[in-house]
């Protein structure tokens, strides 16, 4: 990311575009607006984007189609805006390659935090740092070692893989479909109970209060998000 970050907003409501622009310009972003899916794709095609903010319900098509098309040539972060009742469409968009979502109505504070986190994100393909710290936990990926308050924590192989996968996508929503397919295999995508149990184990081993987790957060109905700093 060099110089001013460029952000594309694809949203049919002019008033929403307006305040999203205000919020992002306050973070010194250059904002490009598009009101339709076709226009959005044309603008995205010009390249050089650091973030796309995308409304799922567009007049000329489904936001998911935008994500699919955009992913054909770009790995750049995509933030989705959607209504609460559209869980399934959110999941579809995330599975199609979107990175995060905001539920309408949302505050400017949340929007800026999400946008910053996405733009700060390590580009895909870049290596993880070998040692990651969060809370009282230190994970040394090179030595497959997990310490909590200096004490080694025993994790089963699956727990460790789950932890490593979440650590690899800090701040990002991982859909339960993706987690299940990557860790247990494609035939487990409907077996969400595995995920519940194993995320529960991770929380019990690594969180101070498993009922009020600060790092392994639940995105209800969608998946999980790992957060380094609460």
């Amino acid at each position: 990311m060099s110089g001013t970050p460029r952000v594309l907003i694809v949203e049919d409501e002019a008033a929403i575009r307006q305040f999203v622009r205000l919020a992002l310009e306050a973070d010194a972003c250059q904002v490009i607006e598009a009101a339709t899916l076709a226009d959005g794709l044309a603008r995205a095609g010009e390249g050089g984007l650091d973030l796309v903010v995308l409304d799922l319900g567009l007049p000329d098509g489904d936001g998911i189609d935008f994500v699919r098309a955009y992913r054909a040539w770009s790995e750049g972060p995509v933030l989705i805006l959607s209504a609460r009742v559209e869980e399934n469409r959110k999941i579809d968009a995330l599975d199609a390659g979107a990175d995060d979502y905001l539920t309408k109505p949302f505050g400017v504070g949340e929007l800026r935090a999400r946008a910053r986190a996405l733009m700060r994100r390590r580009p895909r393909g870049e290596e993880l740092p070998p040692v990651i710290e969060f809370g009282e936990v230190v994970v040394d990926l090179s030595r497959r070692q997990v310490l909590r308050r200096g004490e080694p924590v025993h994790l089963t192989p699956i727990e460790y893989r789950l932890l490593a996968m979440m650590l690899a996508h800090p701040g990002q929503v991982l859909t339960q479909r993706k987690l299940l397919a990557d860790i247990w295999g494609p035939s487990y995508v409907e077996s969400s109970h595995y995920l519940r149990v194993y995320v529960g184990h991770l929380r019990q081993k690594l969180e101070d209060d498993p009922a009020q987790p600060r790092h392994f957060l639940t995105e209800t109905g969608i998946g999980y998000r790992f957060q380094v700093t609460p």
Partner: protein
């Protein structure tokens, strides 16, 4: 019979003057012809009468000595015997032919009628029409009364005129076997056997007992009616489900349009209110405070709209539960995070046993239940009061309770759970619509659970959500 006797006498009178002219053998022919004519036109019994009468008249008027039964020549006895036998056989054969012709004609007429009924029934649009098509036909063909009784309907006490036995009707529907009741006029109960099941009973009452041919005909009629009734049944089912689907589509499209139209301005309102505080140079503090208040109110409105729409969706039955095996701890955690801001100085205590089973529910909806309960607890309890979230397995359920140290629910509400818009404290200064609990109840009911309002040991409010336990799926152990 009278006609047949008259015919014979007439022949005798006409032939008497001719007896000198005509040979006796020809006289016999005349009488045989009469028997034939009588058999063709009047049937078997008159023909027998004509045969016997013919022989007697021949003897009296034409065989000497005249006007007496006595016979001069014994040879005439042979003539009489042959004449009688010929007359009887001819009469019998002719009458049989006549009957067969009549039967064939009747069969033809009925077959034709059945065909007509079938084609009319194919066009029938209601059960009343089916009856209208079948009834007049039975009345005309058998001068009988009939009645179509459908399995779904109440069995009426009377067939027009006389009583009808409901237990016969019930038995015929159950067994699908016809029943003939011979007491006082014959009443025939025919099952309406359709491919799927017995749809009802066709009751026919005739003066004479029906013969085999009649029974076969009635069976055919009943099965035609049955197919028509079944077809109507499925037409109705299809129409009903089509109407239901259309209503359903309309409802959900109205709801989603409404939801979009309400949310968009609220999103704008919240977003713009927030972004004013980003203005450079900074606004004076009082203006900042006012704009923050606008944002807060807009958020509250958004929450309210969210609740209203949720209630509408639940009431419309358009909510499809996305049930998965979920961890209660997880949903408690995400709800606490969502309502985090609502807790000011409240102390929060979470008491979840470690080994709670996974429960099957829609996490988004149960999260909504918990958020509503936690928001209520935060609203109605004193600023530094404790809010307790606890769970425990009880029989086939898991009870999740949220209790606070506030004033508690008024006595009449204990036990009962969340009627729409009933608030615990009527008009109070605490904002709310009373919708929250109603939504909670609707959601918990949809999960096959129960919502109970109780009193916490501290006297505060306690809402208990009971969710059924079910059998969680097995987790394959990890290979060591």
């Amino acid at each position: 019979m009278v006609l047949s006797a008259l015919a014979c006498v007439l022949v005798a009178i006409v032939a008497a003057p001719l007896r000198e002219v005509l040979d006796l053998a020809n006289m016999v022919m005349l009488f045989l012809l009469t028997v034939l004519v009588v058999a063709v036109s009047l049937g078997r019994n008159p023909a027998i009468l004509a045969s016997v009468l013919g022989v007697l008249l021949f003897d009296i008027f034409f065989v000497p000595p005249h006007f007496s039964l006595a016979v001069s020549n014994l040879q005439y006895l042979i003539t009489f015997a042959v004449m009688l036998a010929t007359a009887l056989i001819t009469g019998h054969l002719t009458a049989t032919l006549r009957e067969q012709a009549a039967q064939a004609e009747r069969r033809e007429r009925r077959t034709h009628a059945l065909y007509e009924i079938a084609s009319k029934l194919a066009g029938a649009l209601s059960q009343a029409q089916v009856e209208e098509i079948v009834l007049p036909f039975v009345a005309e063909e058998f001068s009988g009364k009939c009645r179509l009784l459908l399995a779904e309907q109440e069995v009426p006490g009377d067939l027009p005129g006389e009583g009808l036995a409901p237990d016969h009707v019930a038995r015929v529907i159950e067994t699908g076997v016809r029943h003939l009741d011979r007491q006082s006029a014959c009443t025939l109960y025919l099952p309406l056997k359709a491919p799927m099941r017995v749809r009802g009973v066709l009751v026919v009452r005739t003066d004479e007992a029906p013969d085999e041919a009649d029974l076969a005909f009635f069976e055919a009629l009943a099965s035609l009616a049955a197919i028509a009734v079944e077809r109507l049944h499925y037409v109705e089912v299809a129409q009903r489900s089509e109407v239901d689907m259309a209503t359903e589509r309309l409802r959900s499209s109205i709801l989603s349009a409404l939801s979009h139209d309400l949310r968009t301005p609220l999103t704008v309102l919240i977003g713009l209110a927030d972004s004013i505080s980003l203005a450079v140079p900074e606004l004076p503090a009082p203006a900042e405070a006012r704009i923050a208040a606008v944002g807060d109110q807009a958020r509250r409105l958004a929450g309210l709209v969210g609740n209203l729409l949720e209630m509408a969706r639940l009431n419309a039955g358009s909510v499809k539960l996305r049930q998965e095996w979920q961890s209660l701890e997880e949903v408690v955690g995400s709800s606490l995070k969502l309502v985090g801001d609502a807790f000011g100085r409240h102390r929060l205590r979470v008491e979840l046993p470690r080994e709670l089973p996974l429960l099957r529910f829609d996490a988004v909806l149960i999260e909504r239940v918990l958020c509503n309960l936690l928001e209520n607890a935060a609203k109605y309890s004193p600023a530094d009061g404790e809010i307790l979230i606890a769970a425990r397995p009880v029989d086939d359920f898991v009870e999740l309770s949220v209790s606070d140290e506030g004033g508690g629910f008024p006595e009449p509400m204990i036990g009962e759970a969340g009627d729409m818009f009933v608030r615990g404290h009527g008009e109070s200064s605490i904002p709310g619509t009373g919708l929250g609990l109603a939504i909670c109840r609707a959601i918990v009911d949809a999960h096959g659970g129960r919502l109970r309002i109780a009193r916490a040991p501290s006297g505060g409010a306690c809402v208990v959500v009971c969710l059924p336990r079910g059998e969680p799926p097995q987790i394959e152990p990890e290979p060591a």
